[in-house]
Structure formats: C-alpha cells, structure tokens
Amino acid sequence: MRKALEGSQAIALTVALCRPQVVAAYPITPQTHIVENIAKLVADGKMDCELVSVESEFSAASLVLGAACAGSRTYTASASQGILLMSEVLYNIAGLRIPMVMTCANRALSAPLSIWNDQQDSMAVRDAGWIQLYCANNQEAVDTTIQAYRIAEATELPVMVCMDGFTLTHTLEPIDIPEQAMVDAYLPPFNFARALDPANPISIGTLVSPDHYPEARHSHHHALLDAADEIIAADADWQQLSGRSAGGLLSVSGPDDARIGILTLGSIVGTLSDASDLYTDLPATKLINLRAFRPFPVDALRFACSGLTDLIVLERALSPGFGGIVAAEVHAALAGMQDVPRIHSFAVGLGGRDIPLEIYRTLHRKIDAAEPGPFSIIDVERDRLPVEDHGI
C-alpha cells in the first residue's frame, strides 16, 4: 500500500519487516530518524528485537558483528564520521565474511564540518570488502534493504545500502511498504552456518600467517565478484513478488540510440531524469544509474556504454590529488573496449550543495570541447574561493 512517508520512516518500517533480532546504533545526523523510528516501533511492541543504543559507532558495528556470529540477523545504520569511526570494524566484518545489512545515510566528511549530503563517507570504505548498493529514491531504498538481507545471507558478505542523507532520508514521498507476508515469503529465517555454538565449538578470527593470507583475500575478492549474480537474482525475484525492480547492478533509461550518456549514483538520478524531460532541446541522453558499486559491474557497464561517444561521470565524492573515484573505475572498466566513449569526470553537490536542474544543460555544454578536460568540481563558485586560490 502506498503511503506518504519520510525516507527514514520507510526504512525503519522495512527493517522491521526483515525481522532482525539485534539492532545496534549510535545517533548521527542524518541517520537519526531511522533509528528513532525503530526505537518507537520497539517501544510500541511492533518490532520484536534487542535494540541496543551503544556508546559509539565503533561499538555499534562491533555489537552487530558479535550478534551475527552468535547467530542473529542484525541491523545498524550510520553516516559520515560514524562510518569512518567504524571503518576498522567494517573491514573486520567483511574479512570474517559475516552477513549483515547496514544503511549509510550518505553525508560529507569533516573538515570542514558539514552535516549535509555527499557520498565521500561510503566511498572512503569502498575497499572494506562490503557489497555497496546505491539508491536513487526512497522506493529503491526500501526494496534494496529487503533484497540486501537476501544477498548478504546467500553470499556471506555484508551489504551497505547507501541512501543520500536529507535528500532521501528526510524527504516525504509516496512509498509502497510491502506486506509482511510478502517479505516473509522472500526472506527465509537467518541460518548462519558458522554461528557460534557450544555444542559445536569453532574459532572465528584466528591469526593467519603469510602461508594462508593471500588465499583468504582471493576467496573474499571472488565472493564479491560472484555476488553480482545474486544481486541480479535477488532483484529479479523481488520483481516477481512486488512488481518492482530496484535496478539490478545498474539501470539505464533514455533512448537506446543516444550518443551521450550520464552515469551517476544515488538521488542525482532523479534530478537528471526530470531535467532530461525538461530540456528537450538538448541531444538525446542515456542515464546510467549505477546501483552496485561493489561488486563493480564491468560487463553490465560495457554493455550500457556501447554506442556512446561521450560518457559523463557525475559523482558526489572525490579522491583529492586524483579526481573522480567512480570515473577512475569507469575508465578502467571501459579500457580496451571497441570505440571507448570519451569520459568526462565531474564531482557535484559536495557537502550538500544543491544540484539544480540546470546542471543538465551545463553538463551538455562541458562536453562540446574536442577532448575531455581534466576532472573538476563542476559547481565551484570561483568568487567564493579564498583570494590566494583565485588563480587555480
């Protein structure tokens, strides 16, 4: 049934439908509404779980790790500084191959301090070994959260569901929250093969010498690559039940014969989609919504980019001293392809800078040049730079 819900409220209701037994979290803007809504569901007897309000994000991640190893389905959510604080645990969870789901309410990193949206936080932990799925809107976030549990438990990998802070978490939209029976039919009870059990004691997290470490990394890397199939299958099965796809590894909209493509992640997809309807005078453009950033969908991306002459990669993070993080990976993925499109790399909307519809026209203007320019932060206002930086 479609209801007008705030993104965070919808996520809380969805998490409840997935029946986690242990939820642990520490408050951080813009994740707070998710956890507050879960706390209210628990207080009202509408959600049966151990909700632990811990003393830090570091302990939130650690607590759900302990709980998962003891055999319980778990949930946590965080953002920004919280993601960085728990980063050591995030690597540990993935390396131990513990299935769990967390929401990252994407937010910029300090310094300078900003509570507003960009995706630098989840990008900073892209190599932690988690599956990362980015959501374009709140319905996708709801459907992705449910799918994430299935993917995590089938692959024994943790899944981070990334949704833009404020833009999605604090926005009211009509959202279809599925029935409990549908989720139950889709998501069997958690049964972790390596759960700790006094009747069958095992040791988890042992010291591994150079004789075995590379093999552990090899297995982990291939588990992530193989997870692509499960991400596709989980979405297809959910579509069968609910009638909705959340976009598989990536989704493409716009005319098939378009020569220009824009690839992006998260809520910018909606902005660009509206803009393409509005600016009909501009050349036909394909929109590529990259849902799975880890595993990185090389083949799907090559397929989506075939026939393009220009591909604009628009992202809400950067690697200072290099440039676009996603763009770099797109470059690598398309290298060696016949007729590789010219790749234009831009960051936009950092620290919550509003992304207006006009961005669409600006992007089209930028690609007129014969060769792609260097990476840039597209919405920098030069007169707001410190005087000494005016020349750069």
Binding site: V22, V52, V54, S62, G66, G71, P198, S203
Partner: protein, 335 residues
C-alpha cells in the same frame, strides 16, 4: 569438621570428584611462552566456567598463541574480532543469545592493554548497559604481545621498552590505573581481583560471577616471565609475592562495596617482590638516590593498599594468604 568427614560416604566422594572441574576450555599444545601466567589463568577460567559459554577475545598474546590458523586450542565457541571492541562484541553475542532465548553465558577476555586502555570505552558501554557478560582481564601489566610497551596498568617505576630507565627517568612515571574501582563505579553487581597464584580463589570467583545475571568483571594478575624479567618457573612465586606485599590486593566488590579481601597476616616488604624481576632492576642500585626514593614510594603504595582494604585484618579468623590455596580436609576451601 571431623563429624562432616565421617559422614561422607564413598558414593558422595565419587560424586564430589565428578563435580571437580574436568572440563578444559583451552587445550595444551598452544604456543605460549614457558611459565606464561595468562595461559594458566585462561585454563583455570574456562575450567571453572564450564562448556556452556561463548568467548569474545581481544587481540593480544592469548589470541595469538591459541589460534595460529589452521590450529586452535579452544574447545569453546570463540571469536576474536579486534583489539578495542571486545566489550561490544561480547555485548552483541549476549543480545543475540537473549533474543534467541538461549542460556549460554558470554565471556569476554582481554589483556590489560585491551581493557585498561584501548578497549576501555567498549567495556564501559557494556557495563553501563547491563549486559550479562563476565569480562575477564588478564593483567600482565604491559603490552607484552608487541614487545613489552607500557600500558596504564604498568606499575609505577617499572621498566618497559617505552618506559626505559635512564639518566632522566626511573621507568614508568605514572601510577597503575585502578581499573577495579573504575569498573565498580558502573554499579555492576560484582567486580573482583584475583591472582593466578591462587587457583582456588580464582575458580571460586569465576563460579560466583557465572551465577550472577548481569555484568561482572574479574581482573587476574598474571605474570609474564619475558616482560617482567624472571624465570618461567618463578611465575607463581612472583605472583604470590605481589599479593603478599600488598601491591596487588585481592578483593571483591559488590555494587562498588568491598565485601571481601584476601588477608595478609605478615606483609612482606615490596623489595621481596621487586627484586625477583628484571623490570625493577634499576631500583636496586645502592648508589642511586632516586632508586631509594622510588623503593620508598612503592612501599608506600603497598602500605596504602593494606590500609585501604584492611589486608592485615585482626582476630583469629584471619588466615594467612599462604594457606589460601589449600583445600582442607572435607573439601572446604579458604573463603
């Protein structure tokens, strides 16, 4: 007592023997150093706790020497995650078991570095939230796993690789952190110290903590021959001297209130303890006025403990701690 002994039948003796701890949670064949106090303490803890437990183990010697993949010494479900999150891992395991309605008790194991220092926040959170976890701190008074660096548990004036004595320093400049008082200040039901030199006291305290629903904490003084600078076969002797001098008071606190202390009838001078260990060697240079001053300082610390915890006691019921470990006829133990 004599009447009791006579009334015990052969049957009940068999039963008594069966009730003696036989279960060992940690197997021999691990890679601890000769005379490792921590290895012995861990064996005693798991014996007393029994098989229906799960362990969260902090990074440290105990984790390293018991689990070189693909081998493990543990006969118990065991997880090592990181150095500083053991309190939170244990809390998560407990929350999961609670949600599943299972009675298995969660144990958390950490060294002094993982407990006093880097894992302190997670421990504090676990205690404050009242998780049903028994946290055991194996206290060997420095970061031994990384090669003997000072921790906040290292005693005053001790030499470590990061608190070396020299022309301008006499070992660690600061005091050993009073972790027990800090832990007890969380108003937890039970917090105690014990020593690997007193196995019956150690087992008794573990069993007591096991029966309590809620967070409990036991600090076990565990010598490290390598780090303390004594022979491996001196570990028990050295640990015993720490108690007998008053430098390591063996006490029990319930909701922050002192309810028991292991008495010392005739306290030994601290030099009896310090002289056994290379880490205090610099305190025995007769020509160094600073050494004499430090020895007086350490004696004052022991005297303070003796007074604060009433370790000398009085009256006929106060036993010498030398007898504290003996099982008397009829199976009665000290305390």
């Amino acid at each position: 007592m004599s009447t009791n002994t006579q009334s015990i039948s052969v049957d009940s003796l068999v039963k008594l023997r069966k009730n003696q701890p036989r279960f060992e949670g940690i197997e021999s064949g691990h890679r601890a150093c000769l005379g490792c106090g921590e290895a012995l303490a861990a064996r005693l803890v798991t014996e007393a706790a029994g098989p229906d437990v799960m362990i969260a183990n902090a990074t440290g010697c105990l984790e390293i020497f018991t689990t070189p993949w693909p081998e493990s010494s543990w006969r118990l479900p065991w997880i090592h995650s990181l150095f500083e999150n053991t309190g939170a891992i244990a809390a998560g395991m407990e929350a999961a078991l609670k949600a599943q309605g299972k009675p298995t008790k969660v144990l958390a194991f950490g060294g002094d570095g993982g407990t006093f220092d880097i894992g302190f926040q997670a421990l504090s959170g676990m205690l404050e939230r009242g998780h049903n976890v028994l946290y055991v701190c194996f206290d060997n008074e420095a970061y031994m796993n990384t090669g003997i660096q000072r921790s906040s548990s290292t005693p005053h004036a001790a030499m470590t690789t990061t608190s070396p004595p020299g022309s301008d320093r006499m070992g660690k400049r600061h005091l050993k952190k009073d972790i027990l008082s800090i832990v007890a200040a969380h108003h937890i039901p039970y917090a105690a110290t014990t020593s690997v030199a007193y196995p019956s006291d150690l087992r008794k305290k573990i069993r007591r903590a096991m029966e309590i629903e809620g967070p409990t904490f036991i600090q076990i003084h565990s010598p490290c021959p390598l780090g303390w600078g004594h022979e491996g076969d001196f570990s028990i002797k050295v640990a015993r001297l720490a108690v007998q001098t008053g430098l390591f008071p063996v006490i029990e606190l319930e909701r922050q209130e002192l309810i028991g202390s292991m008495p010392i009838r005739h306290p030994r001078p601290v030099t009896d303890y310090l002289r056994q260990q290379g880490r205090f060697r610099h305190l025995f240079n007769k020509h160094d006025a600073r050494a004499i001053e430090e020895l007086a300082h350490i004696q004052a610390l022991a005297d303070h403990n003796i007074k604060q915890y009433d370790l000398c006691g009085d009256g006929v019921d106060r036993l010498d701690s030398d007898g504290a470990d003996t099982v008397r006829r009829g199976g009665m133990r000290w305390a």
